[in-house]
Symmetry: C2
Subunit: 365 residues, 2 copies
């Protein structure tokens, strides 16, 4: 292949494709990006065999063809190239000559024939959602996934679609986040578990205003299609836990308060509480919640004003889980619903009815 | 002690004093900051016994006294406090109650009597220099210090004053940086070696426009006095190498070129060259220098236009040393003076005559 493109397009393409490259992949060729020049554009492919990213950038194709180049070196090099037209010449052997101005860099690569073909399934059902909306939905649920690969189901996010309502749920068994969005599409119902890792990478490449993502399903695969980029991921097999069962229906205590005030208090408490087990205690009184933590480093006593509906009570949480939940909620005011010191706390935005997150309490002696 | 101050002043004071705290000090009390409240101000002291920092912030002193509080926790906590008046109450036992709004944090501390007294020598000679100038001078020489504690002299910076000319020199035996500044002070001649670590911390706290640093010498100590901050460091004993001897007097080849062009070329070459031994080769021709590197990852060939005075030649350098020198020079155009492939290269700013840096070549087979 032989192409000319702008530095800006090349940087954007390599940066996006690099997200599909796994740092610790045992197959050397998978540390590379597959370049395919055809039809006056340059396709970049990367995969770790679990997930693949493909993007397309405009290029002046002087000779069609393909090559695999090492992602890490290439990424660093293209970001340092001068802002001039860049030629990539891979017409001889398994290397590419990158030419710019009077200078050139030759990078040793791999034979494109050896690169595993990206799965490129034809989607069965598909639904469409604005990139900005999906990015925010992912932000609100991804934090609740587990990183423990021994229990794969909890490393993923359940994505359901029923009657035009898209629902994403994540839980690591200590906390749970659930977000619904009415997308009104007239498509078949789905229920799949998507790896959190793939959705994390997706969240990084989407977010362009006024653009949509199309989500479609293949055999055991999900495909996210954006303007110039596609992300394909395998699905996680297994049974997602019955999340409806763990969400309490009513409450004995409902607090309404400003998200920022509770968040900043718990963040300060966490600075001390991390010396112990990150336990913070919330004592709910008529007009305030008293947040305390007590460790060998010192102790904290904070008061946050609340509106109380129901009983006064006290409950302890892991500060990190509470902070994650409060940062994700994306609302100025929240309800915190409690049903006693041993039942989960439920956080809901006051302004919206489409999100909740659940945090299990810590049993203190 | 009992004081009230603003969050902003407290953050600034703690952040400055924290620079004097060593992370790996074996004495627990040295992980703390000594607070002394007197005369309507709050002094903060920290030391690792090699170097000490002392700063003063305005405070409303309700009760004079002192306490030592752990720097790390305190720093994180005060940065997260709300922007309100903050009271520090250390009137009972070895702890402090930090009060803000309706909330309070109690931090366990140490008895101030056990904190080692900061050396506070009366300076013998002293000289004065604008903070901004000293910051730039330090930037230009500090990179050339060694981090090898087995040869202490090379971890320091030689500071000489002769006839009103201040001279700072650093070398790790592979490269050398020398900066002179005419400060015109009518003070006695000095010649001391100051630890690079202390000067690095100094460089971080100075830089305010229109303010001066006063440098004074005590017995085996140097004191840098700024508006609200003092930094004291022990001096390094020993004989600094005779730097004049290693700087070649003439040259066989003088190149004049744009700093940025050579820097960016060598930076790109370094991305490939790090796979080998960071060796880049410069072939000097009539109107250009050709920069090449050749490793198992690939090879690079760059051309940078130059004005040549003298012989064509070729020389190899460690790319990292060349990059450090080019970043430090602070001038749009440079001279690179060479005297053959086995003699050091000398970099000088074209616009100024007060700086040079020397890089030893790499002998290639």
């Amino acid at each position: 292949m032989k192409i000319i493109c702008t530095r800006q397009n090349l940087v954007q393409g390599v940066t996006t494709a690099q997200r599909g490259v796994s740092a610790k992949n045992p197959l050397p060729i998978l540390s590379g990006i597959l370049f395919i020049a055809k039809n006056n554009s340059l396709e970049l492919h990367a995969t770790d065999l679990e997930m693949g990213i493909q993007c397309t950038i405009p290029a002046n194709v002087q000779e069609e063809g393909s090559i695999v180049l090492p992602a890490r070196y290439l990424g660093e090099i293209v970001r340092r190239l001068p802002d001039a037209p860049i030629q990539i010449d891979a017409t001889q052997g398994n290397n590419a000559i990158i030419r710019y101005g009077q200078s050139e860099i030759t990078i040793n690569g791999y034979d494109a024939q050896e690169f595993p073909v990206l799965p490129n399934p034809q989607g069965k059902g598909s639904l469409s959602i604005p990139e900005e909306d999906l990015k925010e939905i992912l932000r609100q649920v991804l934090f609740a996934t587990s990183t423990d690969e021994n229990r794969p189901v909890f490393t993923g996010v359940l994505m359901e679609n029923n009657n035009g309502c898209l629902r994403l749920v994540a839980t690591d068994t200590h906390r749970l986040a659930l977000r619904e969005e009415n997308i009104g599409n007239d498509i078949e119902d789905i229920s799949v578990i998507i790896p959190g890792k793939a959705l994390n990478e997706l969240a990084r490449v989407i977010g362009a205003p006024d653009r949509n993502v199309t989500i479609s399903l293949g055999d055991n695969q999900v495909i996210f299609s954006m303007e110039d980029t596609r992300l394909v991921s395998r699905l996680i097999e297994g049974q997602f836990p019955n999340y409806r069962q763990v969400i309490p229906r009513g409450y004995k205590t409902r607090l309404r308060m400003r998200t920022k005030e509770l968040l900043e208090s718990v963040e300060r408490a966490s600075l001390l509480a991390r010396v112990g087990s990150q336990i913070v205690r919330l004592a709910i009184e008529e007009e305030k919640v008293i947040i305390t933590a007590n460790t060998e480093v010192g102790r904290i006593h904070e008061e946050v004003p609340v509106f109380l509906d129901g009983e006064t009570t006290a409950i302890s949480f892991n500060a990190v889980y509470l902070i994650d939940a409060l940062r994700a909620i994306g609302s100025d005011n929240i309800y915190l619903d409690l049903s006693g010191p041993l039942s989960p706390g439920i956080l809901r935005p006051v302004e919206e009815d489409n999100y909740l997150s659940l945090v299990l309490p810590v049993r203190t002696s």
